[in-house]
């Protein structure tokens, strides 16, 4: 039975990082994490990002997890230094295929996930002609607004398969950006502490992200007046460490681990629109025990200034 203790814990373990890395990084400038660039006072930023994520496990349960989600973000510049953001994911489908004593079964769900609210404050900026360097702490929380007690014909779904996690999480970090007319480099260090709900606390997460965006069009700005649209080639890197999940009676050995993802992509940037896409591919996967691994994550989306 997939609802028996062992498979349930195993499934939880294997899907345990879905909520964290799936859409929680849908924020502001690089595709997979944040930026230190300001949002002007009184300006809104609207962002939608479609996330298609495939994961699989090597254990006897041959777990396959597929997620199709849309992350919606609304940002607002309170001042030129302080911007606040709200983010909510909608899961079109979160699906688990797993081998059980009953044979291969499929469990899935859909619905809104947990809302995240966060702020970003520009602590330091150094502007020069055609370039800027900025440092901005980021701080926020994720509220348990999503449904966390969905069930199917096999019973209640494992916690990590639920659209909502049921726990309050907090996160804080710092992001730096160096932007010129030719390229942009971003770096972020972020820590997320996950709360406990129904005897399960997902492992806390530490991540280091880096991104390089290089303008490939127009190739030169000489003689180009006004505000031309840019096309950037981008390469992003995400190193993520997740601790073991904490269960009612200790820690789960088959959870957490380290992974390094690389994401090549393209970004079209105009005066009020950005259209972008990346594919995150695992370079290093070092899961604890039988924790599930990423196969790939596709991110396609847009941003709009208003």
């Amino acid at each position: 039975m997939v609802n028996s203790n062992r498979p349930s814990v195993g499934v939880s373990v294997l899907i345990g990082t879905l909520l964290l890395a799936g859409v929680s990084a849908v924020q502001a400038a690089p595709n997979t994490f944040n930026t230190a660039l300001s949002v002007a006072k009184g300006q809104y930023l609207w962002r939608e990002q479609l996330v298609l994520r495939e994961r699989s496990g090597n254990g006897p349960m041959e777990r396959d997890v597929s997620v199709q989600a849309l992350g919606s973000v609304l940002g607002y510049g309170v001042t030129s230094r302080l911007a606040v953001f709200g983010m909510v994911p909608y899961f079109f489908n979160k699906e688990l295929d797993v081998t059980t004593p009953m044979g291969r079964i499929e469990r899935d769900t859909s619905g809104f996930g947990d809302v995240s609210l966060f702020g970003r404050y520009t602590l330091y900026k150094k502007d020069e002609t055609g370039s800027t360097f900025r440092v901005a702490p980021v701080f926020g929380l994720t509220a348990p607004t999503g449904d966390d007690n969905d069930s199917d014909r096999f019973g209640e779904l494992p916690r990590p398969l639920q659209p909502g996690d049921g726990a309050w999480d907090g996160f804080a970090g710092v992001v730096t950006t160096y932007q010129t007319l030719q390229y942009q480099v971003d770096g972020q260090l972020l820590y997320r502490e996950n709360g406990r709900h129904d005897a399960l606390a997902r492992g806390d997460e530490t991540r280091f992200d880096a991104s390089l965006q290089y303008r490939i069009w127009p190739r030169s700005l000489k003689g180009v007046a006004g505000t031309p649209s840019f096309v950037y080639a981008l390469l992003e890197s995400n190193v993520i460490h997740r601790e073991h999940n904490e269960t009612g009676n200790g820690t789960d050995a088959d959870s957490g681990g380290i992974q390094w993802l690389l994401a090549p992509g393209l970004q079209y940037v105009s005066r009020s629109w950005i259209v972008e896409g990346t594919v995150q591919l695992p370079v290093v996967e070092d899961p604890n025990g039988d924790a599930i691994e990423d196969d790939y994550v596709v991110r396609i989306g847009f941003r709009r200034n208003f």
Binding site: S38, A40, Q43, T132, Q184, T227, S229, S270, R271, N305
Partner: protein, 105 residues
């Protein structure tokens, strides 16, 4: 006499045209390095009373502002708007000709 009169009329017409022309300003803005960032500065400058047009030249980090006839733009107000957009005002000057083409090369 007729020649002098026509010269006087021409001078008068030209003077009125100059006086009636919109005033234009040229701002040098530091920290401006992408098209998406330009929107914020346009939005802040457009909120200033009397501004009729804002043109951002991203490649040269220069912003051209056109004011309504009879309105002027103060450096303090521009500095505030540029700061609210998240950038730094580097230079401020009023354009000397109608094309606003001075001072940016």
């Amino acid at each position: 006499m007729i020649k002098k009169l026509s010269l006087l009329v021409t001078t008068l017409v030209f003077s009125i045209a100059v006086l009636a022309a919109d005033s234009r300003y040229i701002l040098g803005v530091d920290g401006l390095a992408c098209p998406f960032c330009a929107y914020g500065i346009e939005k802040r400058l457009n909120r200033i009373d009397g501004v009729t047009d804002v043109q951002v030249n991203v490649g040269e980090s220069v912003v051209h502002v056109t004011m309504q006839e009879g309105k002027t733009l103060s450096e303090d107000r521009v500095n505030q708007a540029v700061d609210e957009a998240g950038f730094t005002l580097r230079a401020f000057s009023e354009a000397e000709d109608e094309t606003g083409g001075n001072g940016e090369q």
